[in-house]
Amino acid sequence: MTEALILAALLAVVCVVVVALPFLKEPEPESDSLDELDEGERRRLELLESRDRSLAALKELEFDHRTGTISDDDYRTLVGPLRREAASALQALEREAGMPPSNEDGEGRPPAGRS
């Protein structure tokens, strides 16, 4: 009984220390604010998602066309809108970043962060 209570007390103390660790490690931090996304960053995130979505869709369309799953006619119908979407996302990202837009197809600048 006593042994169990000692172990339980020890467990409680360890848990309290673990919980208090962020305060113990940084008793007086320079900033205690959470890194929130502001409106501009959220907009940028949406554009990045849109860019990645369009580029991934283009990549998949190209591959499906190569395998024969997508016919030539369907490929021609689908590839245009997808390229325009990707281009529009890239241009919007460039505008957000205050950079001059790339060529009219939006394919001049490789997207950052993609392998």
Binding site: F23, P29, S33, L45, S50, A56, G68, I70
Partner: protein
């Protein structure tokens, strides 16, 4: 040591409450250290729950009957592996196991995603904590596994049908699945709470959902095989409410795994996806409620049950809070794109979703209806097997067909000409298969014939996709065919892992159709020396034997099996009489034909004192494909789940591009 277990659980409850309150305050007020402290509390809650679980496991293995739970679920003679399995075998232990897995998953999900979705995690932590508060409250105040008593000389033992190796794996996988669904729920709710309705919650939880779904699937297949070899009624799935309890969240999660692709590819179905995650989690809770509250025995036992009303209240609260939040965020969840054509891959996925949901809700109604009828009218009206089988055919067969159609249609829209070209080969294979089967006499069951024809169609599309894809990879520069095949899969694991899972579902459908639509049954009471015919088999009853093992008396009838002039050896079927538990179980005899996948299944239904035995014998064509489907399912799930370093790097890079800070 029961005091240590109780104290550890009390610590878990305290930590969970802290993680909930501090986590919510940190998220609301934007306090970084408080948010980290709440995350640490979640991790600490896992370790304190681990201590409590270790105490219970030690008591089970040591047969410490001063623990009320140990005395109720085990006995001294019970083999050690079943003593360990008793941890999740009873109500209190299984709730503790839920809590253990929940806190482990919560801590792990926070850890794995903090590199690129930290602002989202801040809001997911209080949701994890809220669920942990509920379960830790149950095991502290309502159904504690650490209640003690003056130790009796021996425990009451474990139900004989549970004394099976499957007891070690089947419930564990189901709980991993149930609890795993908490992760997408926590992130989805966190996304609604924070207003960050971008795609990160989907990406953060995709693999968790896949893992939970795979675990539920594996758990159900293990359960089906367990029922087949142990319960001894000649089947593997009986639409029992306990079985349905695991099937419903699996169906909802299956729908989500498909519809999430539409959101990723087209940005559509945002509200629908949140709803599916909410449904899957609520059904996981409902499944635990069904199996643990006693409501299945009787509505009245539910009201007397200690945990039943708490569970129902928590489910109601979960649904109410989630729907309110969803309603508040509707404007942000509006989709930027629309369905362009009813003939497109996203449309096929949408039809798949509607069918899966319809099947899921039909099963839910089948489970709830008897409970409602008992509560309202005082008499239980059960919806039987025919109800479920009917809707399985109505919704299941089109679902099977869609598995073959979906991968061959383009996203956005497909032309008729393209469809004709793409579907030419799979349709030819399906029609030829159907024709051959009719000639072979499979037309006796129309649903069975349709299932086989559709299965051939799906299998042809899967093979076509792999062949075309490998050929394209080879053309793109892979040095060898195996290299091209490997490159194909590793570049899109979800897609090709998904196809392997589809192949497993096809095997499952063939196995189910074969064993249920084309099976043969025969019954006869035989004396030693007599024989019976079933299908192409002849069974000669040779002898009856009784033997004693550590925890039971085994009675076995030996039958000589032959097919035509060919001797196929002997088969044993009988019963076990468990001494301590005072129960008798059927021990069936099964002879599997590895070449055809057929089983000869023998039940010794009644054994008389004069040595005569009433035998029930089934011939089940293709039933072994169901178990083979399990292996293929695991393979497909592993392929789809395999970590993708390229994707992880891309996500971190995207987070950096937008300014989401790296881990501090």
């Amino acid at each position: 040591m029961a005091e240590l277990g109780s104290a550890a659980l009390l610590v878990t409850l305290g930590l969970s409450v802290y993680a909930l309150v501090a986590g919510a305050a940190a998220a609301r007020l934007g306090r970084r250290r408080l948010a980290l402290s709440a995350q640490n509390a979640l991790v600490a809650a896992f370790f304190s729950t681990l201590v409590a679980s270790a105490v219970l496991l030690a008591a089970l293995v040591d047969s410490d009957f001063s623990f009320n739970y140990v005395a109720r679920t085990t006995s001294e003679a019970l083999p050690t592996q079943y003593k360990i399995a008793a941890f999740w075998g009873g109500q209190e232990g299984s709730l503790l196991f839920w809590l253990l897995v929940l806190t482990a998953f919560g801590a792990l999900a926070v850890r794995l995603n903090r590199g690129w979705a930290r602002d989202l995690i801040v809001w997911a932590v209080p949701v994890f904590a809220a669920v942990a508060v509920f379960f830790s409250f149950l095991v502290v105040a309502v159904a504690s596994p650490f209640q003690t008593q003056p130790p009796p000389p021996d425990g009451t033992g474990m139900t004989p049908s549970l004394q099976n190796p499957y007891m070690i794996g089947h419930p564990v996988f189901l709980y991993l699945g149930y609890v795993g669904l908490t992760v997408p729920f926590a992130f989805a709710l966190g996304s609604l709470l924070s207003g960050r309705t971008d795609e990160r919650w989907l990406i953060a939880t995709r693999r968790w959902t896949l893992f939970a779904w795979a675990a539920l699937g594996i758990g159900q297949l293990l359960g089906a095989h367990w029922a087949y070899v142990e319960v001894g009624w000649g089947g593997y799935f009986a639409w029992d409410p306990v079985e349905n309890a695991a099937l419903m969240p699996w169906l909802a999660a299956t729908a989500f795994l498909h519809s999430v692709m539409i959101q990723e590819k087209r940005g559509m179905l945002r509200v629908w996806n949140v709803l599916l995650v909410l449904l899957a989690f609520s059904l996981a809770l409902f499944g635990t409620f069904l199996t643990r509250s006693g409501v299945l025995n009787s509505v009245h036992s539910f009201t007397q049950s200690s945990i039943g009303p708490w569970f129902l209240a928590f489910i109601a609260l979960t649904v109410a809070v989630s729907l309110t939040l969803l309603f508040r965020r509707l404007p942000q969840l509006r989709s930027p794109t629309r369905l362009e054509s009813p003939v497109s891959r996203e449309a096929a996925f949408l039809y798949n979703n509607l069918l899966l949901l319809a099947l899921c809700l039909t099963i839910l109604w089948g489970v709830v209806y008897p409970l409602l009828s008992e509560a309202v009218r005082g008499e239980t009206a059960v919806l039987g097997r025919s109800y479920y089988d009917f809707f399985l055919r109505i919704f299941g067969l089109p679902l099977l067909l869609l598995m073959g159609i979906g991968p061959l249609i383009a996203w956005r829209k497909a032309s008729l000409r393209s469809l004709v070209t793409t579907f030419r080969w799979p349709t030819t294979v399906a029609l030829v298969t159907g024709g051959v089967l009719v000639v072979l006499g499979a037309g006796s069951s129309v649903p069975g014939l349709v299932a086989y024809t559709f299965s051939a169609f799906v299998m042809a599309t899967i093979v076509t996709e792999f062949v075309r894809g490998t050929r394209a990879r080879k053309a793109l520069g892979s040095a060898s065919w195996p290299g091209a095949f490997h490159s194909l899969i590793s570049r899109n694991r979800r897609r090709y892992g998904g196809y392997v899972v589809h192949a497993a579902i096809v095997l499952l459908a063939i196995g189910i159709a074969g064993s249920s639509a084309f099976d043969t049954v025969a019954e006869a009471k035989l004396k030693p020396g007599q024989s019976m015919d079933v299908g192409r088999y002849t069974l000669a009853y040779r002898s009856l034997e009784e033997r004693q093992v550590s925890n039971a008396t085994e009675i076995r009838a030996t039958l000589a099996v032959s097919r035509g002039d060919r001797d196929l050896g002997t088969l044993e079927a009988g019963k076990n009489a468990y001494t301590i538990e005072q129960q008798v179980s059927n021990e069936v005899g099964i002879r599997s034909d590895r070449l055809t996948g057929e089983d000869l299944f023998v039940i010794a239904d009644q054994i008389d004192l004069d040595g005569s035995v009433y035998f029930r014998v089934f011939v089940k064509p293709l039933v072994n494909l169901i178990w083979m489907a399990g292996l293929v399912f695991v393979l497909g799930s592993v392929i789809a789940l395999w970590p993708d370093a390229r994707e992880q790097r891309r996500l971190v890079a995207r987070a950096r591009e937008v300014g989401v800070p790296a881990t501090r």
